[in-house]
C-alpha cells in the first residue's frame, strides 16, 4: 500500500492499481491516477478495497501459479493437461471484457476470478476473501503493464431490444446472413465447418461455443453478456467483433435473443432416471414422434480421472435420457452433442461410443460393483453402442477388460445430425441367465453412463462418465386407477347412507 496516494488521491482506497514499489513507481502512480480518473469518469465502480500487488502475489503463488505459471505466461506445470489452456497474462489479451478497447476493467477481471470460467478448468474463487481476489487482480495486471497503460473504454451497446417472436426471427436471419454457423454450426452446437481448424493466438486449438449450452458460456449467460461477446468478439480467439458487421446496430440484440432461444438456461439435471410405462410398441427410430412425448432425464457426466489415461477435459458433459418400457422390452433414447461423427483412425481419433452400465443382477443390499466399469471380482453389464458397430451387450471387469456377450436380443439405431447424436437402444425386459439384469417396476435399479467423443481422442479409460444413478420403472399403467377410487367413494357413501338410515329409524322409535 502506498500511504502517499491513499491520503492524496481522490479515493481513500490506497493505490487501487497496486503497482510494485519500484523506483519507477512515480510514473506508475501518475499513470495509475490517470487510469483511475478515467474509470471514475466512466462511472465504473471504483474498487472498494485497497489492492496490493505483493499480497496478490502471495495469493497467486498459492492458488493460480500451478496453471498460469510463475511468470504469468500460462505455462504452469498443470497447463499441459488442460484444454482450453490457462491464460498467458503476459500478452495482455483478456477474453472477457466489457470495454471497447483491449483493456478490461478491474471489475471484468474480478468477475472471472470470482465466478470462474464455466466449461474450462478455471474454478470460481469466490471462496477467497474479496480482498485477496482484488489483490490477485492487481498482481495479474502487473504481468502486462502495457495493456493497462491504456484506460478501459466503456463499450456502448446498441439500445436493448426485448425478446419477442419477431426479434428471434430477425436474429435467426442475421445468424444466417453473418454466417455464425461457420463455427457455431447450423443449430448452434459448435459443429461448423471451420471448427476443426480454429486456433487461438497462441496456436492452441480452441472450440467455438455450443450456443445451446448457455451455462458453459465463458463470459456469462446473461443477455447483456451475450450481446457484449457478439459486439466485442473474444480477444485472442477466432471470435471476431460483430458490432460493425451487422446490418443494423440493434441486430446485436436480435442475435442475442435468437441465441437465448436455442437452449435452456441451465442443464436441469435429473437425480433419478424414470422409465415410463407404455402400452404401444416402442419405435427403433430415434427421430420418431413417439420420443418427443417422453420426458427427458438430463444426466451430467464428468471426465474419468481415476486411472490412466485420464480425461481432464471431457468433451461430453451431458446426456439426455428418455426411457420407456412395455410388457416385453425396455428402451433408452439418448441424446448428446458431439461436433463430429467419428469412426476414428485408431491413432488420434477413435469411434464415438456410449454405454449404459448395470449390475448383472439386481443388488440385494447396498453393495454394487465398482462404478468405474466394475473390477476383477465384480463385473458389470453394459448396453453399449459404438460408431460403426451398433448396439451390443458387453461384460466389463474394469475399463479395459470388455468381453462381448454371446446371444442376446439388444438392438438399436443411432442418427447423427447437426452436431448431435440420438440413439435408441433396447432389449427384453426380462433376461435369462446370471449375466444380464432383468428390470422390474418399482425397484430402484443402479445405472451408470459412459460416453466417448472419439473425435477428441476419447477411447478406453479416457471417457466421460457418471457414478451410479438409480433407475426406476414407473408403475405399469392400468385401468384400476380409474376404477378403484369411484368404487371406494360409492361404498363410503353407501355405508354413510346406511348409518344415517339406521340413526333415523332409531330416532323415530
Amino acid at each position: 500500500m502506498q500511504p502517499g496516494i491513499r491520503s492524496g488521491g481522490p479515493i481513500q482506497s490506497g493505490d487501487p492499481f497496486g503497482f510494485p514499489r519500484t523506483p519507477s513507481s512515480l510514473v506508475d502512480r501518475a499513470f495509475g491516477s490517470i487510469v483511475l480518473a478515467t474509470l471514475v469518469l466512466l462511472g465504473a465502480a471504483a474498487p472498494a478495497a485497497a489492492q496490493d500487488v505483493n499480497a496478490g502475489k502471495a495469493v497467486y503463488e498459492r492458488k493460480c501459479m500451478l496453471c498460469h505459471g510463475e511468470k504469468g505466461d500460462g505455462k504452469g506445470p498443470a497447463a499441459e493437461l488442460l484444454l482450453p489452456k490457462p491464460r498467458d497474462f503476459t500478452r495482455g489479451l483478456f477474453k472477457i471484457r466489457s470495454t471497447a478497447n483491449k483493456t478490461p476493467t478491474d471489475q471484468d477481471l474480478l468477475r472471472i476470478v470470482s465466478d470462474g470460467m464455466p466449461g474450462t478448468s478455471m474454478p470460481a474463487w469466490e471462496v477467497l476473501p474479496e480482498k485477496d481476489r482484488r489483490n490477485v487482480v492487481a498482481y495479474v495486471k502487473s504481468f502486462a503493464p502495457d495493456t493497462f497503460k491504456e484506460a478501459p473504454k466503456k463499450l456502448e451497446l446498441p439500445k436493448e431490444v426485448a425478446s419477442s417472436e419477431a426479434s428471434i426471427k430477425r436474429g435467426k436471419e442475421m445468424f444466417e446472413a453473418i454466417e455464425c454457423h461457420k463455427c457455431h454450426g447450423t443449430e448452434g452446437r459448435a459443429d461448423g465447418p471451420s471448427r476443426p481448424e480454429l486456433k487461438d493466438e497462441w496456436g492452441h486449438p480452441v472450440a467455438p461455443a455450443n450456443l445451446t449450452r448457455r451455462w458453459n458460456f465463458r463470459g456469462g449467460r446473461s443477455r447483456t453478456e451475450i450481446a457484449t461477446r457478439i459486439a466485442n468478439g473474444v480477444l485472442g480467439t477466432p471470435m471476431p467483433a460483430f458490432l460493425d458487421a451487422v446490418e443494423k446496430p440493434e441486430d446485436i440484440w436480435h442475435l442475442t435473443n435468437y441465441i437465448v432461444s436455442l437452449g435452456p438456461d441451465s442443464p436441469q439435471p435429473a437425480t433419478l432416471v424414470t422409465v415410463a410405462a407404455v402400452k404401444d410398441a416402442i419405435p427403433d427410430d430415434p427421430a420418431a414422434d413417439f420420443w418427443k412425448k417422453v420426458a427427458p432425464n438430463n444426466i451430467l457426466l464428468e471426465g474419468q480421472v481415476i486411472v490412466d489415461p485420464r480425461n481432464f477435459n471431457p468433451a461430453i458433459d451431458l446426456v439426455s435420457v428418455r426411457a420407456v418400457y412395455n410388457d416385453r422390452e425396455i428402451a433408452f433414447h439418448l441424446t448428446w452433442d458431439d461436433p463430429d461423427e467419428t469412426k476414428g483412425d485408431g491413432k488420434s481419433t477413435f469411434p464415438d461410443a456410449l454405454s449404459l452400465q448395470f449390475a448383472p443382477q439386481q443388488p440385494t443390499g447396498t453393495e454394487r460393483p465398482y462404478f468405474l466399469m466394475g473390477d476383477a471380482n465384480d463385473g458389470v453389464y453394459l448396453l453399449r453402442w459404438e460408431q460403426g458397430k451398433g448396439v451390443s451387450e458387453v461384460t466389463a471387469h474394469g475399463p479395459t477388460k470388455l468381453t462381448p456377450m454371446q446371444g442376446g436380443e439388444a438392438a438399436g439405431k443411432a442418427v447423427f445430425k447437426n452436431g448431435q447424436y440420438t440413439l435408441v437402444m433396447k432389449r427384453p425386459l426380462t433376461a435369462a441367465g446370471a449375466e444380464r439384469p432383468s428390470f422390474q417396476p418399482r425397484v430402484f435399479t443402479p445405472i451408470a453412463f459412459q460416453a466417448w467423443e472419439g473425435g477428441a481422442g476419447d477411447t478406453g479409460p479416457k471417457m466421460s462418465l457418471t457414478s451410479w444413478y438409480y433407475l426406476r420403472l414407473e408403475e405399469p399403467q392400468s385401468n384400476r386407477r380409474f376404477f378403484i377410487p369411484p368404487v371406494a367413494a360409492l361404498l363410503t357413501f353407501a355405508v354413510l347412507g346406511m348409518l344415517v338410515r339406521a340413526a333415523r329409524s332409531r330416532a323415530v322409535q
Binding site: 489479451l93 454466417e179 486456433k199 480477444l235 471470435m239 471476431p240 467483433a241 458487421a245
Partner: protein
Amino acid sequence: MRKVFVALTATTLVGSAVMFAIGPRLAGAQGGGTVEVEVKYNGAPVVEKLKVNKDTEKCGTETTIEKVVVGSNKGLAYAVVSAPNAKGAKPIKAVVDQHGCKFVPHVSVMTPGEMELKNSDDILHNIHTYSTANAAINKAQPKFKKTMTEKFDKPEVIKLTCDVHSWMLGWLAVVPGVAAVSDTNGVAKLENVPAGKQKIEVWHETLGKQDKEVDVKAGQTTKVSFEMKGK
C-alpha cells in the same frame, strides 16, 4: 455575382496557403531519385498445396500457400522493399481484397494511416491481425459488408489471417517512408527517394530482413541488389 467573387477569392487564398505549406515538400520529393531494388533468392520456391473442404464454390477445391515465390532470374516476389527514412514520401493507401479466399495482394505496403479492406467473395471472412505496435483487430466482415476502413498508425509488418478459412494469409507492411513490393522478377522501384544516403530495407515473410545503405542521386536511378538467404 459578388458572392461568387468572394468564394473565388477565398478558394484562391486557401489554395495558395496549402501550396505554400506543402509546396516545399513536394519539390523536395521531386528532387529525389529512383532506387531500383532487385531481390534474389537462390533457393527453391516453397508453395504448399492444400485441399479446401468448405465454401468450395468461392474458394475452389484447392488452394496454395505461397511461402517463397521465386520467378525468372531467381527473382524473389512478395518482398517488401523500403526506404524507411525517406522523408516527404507520397502517402500510399493499401487496398487488400479478400478474393477467392485469399488476401489479394498477398503482400501490401502502406504509409501510416488508413487502408481499405474489401470482401468480394460474398461469404463471411474475419480480418484477424497479429499486430503488436498497432492495436490488434479481429473483425467480422460478412458478405454484405463489401468494404471496411482500418487505421494503422505505427510502422510494423502485420500478419493478416482469417479464422473462417485458416489457410488465408496476408501481410501488410506499414512503412513511414517510401515502399514497394517486389514483382515476380524480384524487382521493386522506389520512386522519389530524397537524394543522399538512404537505408534500403528488404523484408520477406519467411526469409527475414536485410538492409543496405545506398547513395541516392537526384533524377537518377540507382540500382541495388539483395541476395536473401534461406533460414
